[in-house]
């Protein structure tokens, strides 16, 4: 059983220095400050509570291993969110191997198969009301078929609730680029959903 006191660091530089030294108090503070935020980002990309927690753990382990490489070019929070986004995308890429066949069906104009064993164990996002569960699950699957840049921007903005400026900092893209990508993402999703409903005649 570890007992830590919550120390307040004078500046972010002191905080980072303590993290680089591997001080347990600093990591305790890090988790207090960021665990909920990182988890919220992870569950925005991967709508399964258990998967999202696993990814969030990997994020903090990566922070521990890589903190000495943090150059201070951005805020610590931005760097952590970048790691979180990359870890989520890594997870989705690994799980998406099965969906390549389904994606080819989309290109050929065939019915979009609903593969219930795609990139998360099971749709389990406790923050979604029951009456919206089916629609949300469909939306998440459609988001997963977007090009990666659109997926990232849409997810961070619409699901994780990040501001465009935060997304600019995390992705390294310009504000106009983020706005443009967001517009294209919404347009693409509308087209895909319209096609889905027409093909399924629901």
């Amino acid at each position: 059983m570890y007992v830590y006191s919550t120390l307040s660091f004078l500046t972010e530089q002191d905080y980072i220095a303590a993290l680089i030294q591997g001080k347990s108090s600093a990591f305790n503070q890090l988790l207090e400050d960021y665990q909920q935020k990182v988890f919220s980002t992870c569950i925005s990309f991967v709508p399964n509570k258990e998967d999202a927690e696993d990814i969030a753990q990997e994020v903090f382990l990566e922070v521990f291993k890589s903190i000495s490489k943090f150059k201070g070019n951005s805020k610590l929070s931005t760097w952590i969110y970048k790691i979180a986004t990359n870890k989520c995308l890594e997870f989705i890429r690994k799980k998406n191997t099965k969906k390549r066949f389904a994606f080819m069906q989309v290109i050929k104009g065939n019915e979009i198969p609903i593969d219930k064993t795609s990139y998360f164990t099971e749709f389990n996002h406790p923050g979604i009301q029951l009456e919206n569960k089916e629609k949300s699950e469909l939306l998440f699957r459609m988001i997963n078929t977007l090009p990666e840049s659109q997926k990232v921007v849409f997810t961070l903005a619409k699901i994780d609730g990040k501001s465009y400026q935060e997304i600019v900092d995390i992705t390294g893209k310009s504000l106009s680029s983020v706005e443009s990508i967001m517009f294209r993402a919404k347009k693409t999703l509308k087209e895909k959903l319209t096609k889905f409903y027409k093909n399924n005649d629901l």
Binding site: Q35, F39, N132, K135
Partner: protein, 105 residues
Amino acid sequence: METNKTTTQKVDEVLSSLDNLEEVKISPFFKQSVLNKIELEKEKSVIQFSWFSPQLQLAAVCIVLLLNAIVMFYTFTNNSSVSENSIETFAQEYHLQSSSDSILN
């Protein structure tokens, strides 16, 4: 038109299905679990030779393989001439029959 309107409505409903998303609270055991894993990682890095990074390890393996390859190359190319010279010398030393021609045979 009615079908189109219905499809459009359905699409809009799906797109707005995440508008009232509630925050999902992280597990209360998450922090302790991560801190435990960080402590394990710290122990791992203390046990190993921290200066002998994976890159250095790979470089050492490559050097050893290269040295082996060089030695084997020189061994196989010089082997026949060296052994012939050795046999010749041995035979002459002990006045034994050798492959070279000699009027004294």
